[in-house]
Amino acid sequence: MNLRIESAAIDSLMVRLFDQIDEANMPWLMAAAENLRQAFGAQLIDLVPSYTTLLLHYDLHALSESDAIALIHSSLHNLQPLTNETGTLHAIPVWYHQSVGPELTTIAQRAGLSPEQVIEQHCSRDYPVFTLGFAPGFAYMGLVDEALASARLATPRQRVPKGSVGIAERQTAIYPLTSPGGWNLIGRCPLTLFSAERGSLLQPGDRVRFVSIDHAEFIRLGGDDTVMEASA
């Protein structure tokens, strides 16, 4: 870890801890987030963790930039990574199927695997939630096995159905709401990931294990099996 603090806006500082995406960053980023929340208290307006950074938005009425920088330094002095996972481990059911995951066979063919082996790979590890962004409750997770890594679609889809599970490079995610998107889709999750009342099911620092379910279970859990058009 190598702490750097950069001016980001009139009331925001970029707290940079790492230079590369790595699962090992997460315990440090989560620890830093906790310390910063405590140190800033009511003077913290928003704190947005990402893969290597935390964007800290403070109350400019209360703090000057140099006050804020000093507070960041003192709160991250002697930072220790959070031991054990403090985040929740979620088992997330996914119906992996060509009709709702048009890139399942594309990824399999490219990797020289069967679709079943792709599913097995995708379900074989726990993925930390690195950050939420793009859309409410959209959790960036990773890293998937190298063999499953896939570039984003050249032309994003206008409409990716809610619950779609996708891969982009070595990241994986679930679309919480129907939206445009360019990730490679391999299946669909029947759960509601975001609602205004309950917020986001997945939080930064949580871990996710995907569990393969069949069509009947998908429907029983409230999934919508409307068929997707193939990729453009």
Binding site: E6, S7, A8, A9, I10, D11, S12, M14, Q20, I21, I45, D46, L47, V48, P49, S50, Y51, T52, T53, L54, L55, H57, L60, H61, S64, E65, T131, L132, G133, F134, A135, P136, G137, F138, Y140, L177, F194, A196, G199, S200, Q203, P204
Partner: protein, 313 residues
């Protein structure tokens, strides 16, 4: 308290307030009135709290009819507003009587008008705010991110107003060239020297692609020479430069994280002004220090609270 019926709307007029905070780590954008100065002035005219919910009206195309009489205040753009058939200039509190209509036609000066009522317009807050985010189906009158539609009914939260008068010249409108103050930061050092010179010495043009998420500028292509970035949080006003070299100023409804290099961030005061600029507007970027920008911001806020206006730079 007033009740208004939306008789005609193009669907873009929407409820806004100061925005949604403390939830950006969930991927939820901040939202809020783009011209926050005009919003605060509209609320000041009625003695409301500065961030009470107002109607943000971009470009016009809205007709409201009073179902009961009550107070309103109008600030921001001059959208050729008519109270029945009488012209209604922005910058004042006024009463709308039962049966009267208020119509916003098309922009004469500025882009976004703000309409306030005593106590703010009533709507159930979603995640702490009323701010409408259409793209994310969040907030607004019905909580689902929709703009105002024909048949919608709006109510105020209070009846009593302490109407005030703005000092002359309190409203701001763009001239031939608008200067936007930018606090340098982020990856500014990784842009080519010639690009930095161009960024701050040439005139930019506000593109057609200008909305509540981002305002694109067109002009000389800026060349970023640094490494590809890992996505990180994006502050309000961030000036990001995608591979085509044309900067995008990220506004209230921006994505929460992103991976394009940034020059820095435009100040909130300049963003309020940008909100009144139409496509084709000539714009210059000017470097300011964070400390000077903060001082000006604090002065403007206290002047707005005291007299509803600030006559800074």
């Amino acid at each position: 308290m007033i009740e208004l019926l939306v008789e005609h709307s193009l669907g873009f007029a929407q409820l806004q307030d100061g925005g949604r905070f403390g939830v950006r780590h969930l991927g939820i954008t901040q939202g809020g009135a783009l011209d926050w100065v005009a919003m605060q002035q509209a609320n000041w005219l009625l003695g409301n709290t500065a961030d009470a919910a107002v109607i943000e009206i971009p470009l016009g195309g809205l007709q409201l009819r009073a179902q009961t009489s009550g107070w309103l205040a109008l600030t921001g753009a001059d959208l050729d507003a008519k109270l029945d058939d009488q012209p209604l200039a922005p910058g004042q509190a006024f009463q709308l009587r039962h049966g009267q209509t208020l119509r916003f036609n098309s922009p004469k000066r500025g882009v976004r008008a703000y309409l306030a009522t005593p106590g703010g317009f009533a709507a159930d807050p979603v995640m702490g705010a009323v701010a409408t985010v259409m793209r994310k189906q969040l907030g607004g009158l019905h909580g689902n991110g929709r703009g105002l539609h024909n048949g919608d009914r709006l109510q105020g939260n209070a009846s009593d107003a302490t109407p005030r008068t703005l000092p002359a010249g309190a409203l701001w409108y763009p001239g031939n060239e608008v200067v936007l103050d930018l606090i340098p930061g982020a990856q500014i050092a990784a842009f080519a020297g010639v690009s930095l010179f161009a960024a701050f010495n040439q005139v930019w043009t506000l593109d057609q692609r200008a909305d509540r998420m981002g305002m694109r500028l067109t002009g000389p292509a800026l060349r970023y020479q640094g490494q590809a970035l890992i996505s990180e949080g994006i502050p309000l006003g961030a000036v990001q430069v995608p591979p085509d070299g044309q900067p995008i100023i990220l506004m209230n409804d921006r994505q929460t994280i992103g991976g394009y290099p940034r020059l820095g961030a435009v100040t909130p005061l300049s963003l309020a002004r940008l909100a009144q600029c139409a496509p084709g507007q000539k714009v210059r970027l000017r470097v300011v220090s964070q400390e000077a920008a903060r001082r000006e911001m604090l002065n403007v806020i206290s002047a707005l609270q005291a007299q509803g206006a600030s006559f800074g730079s």
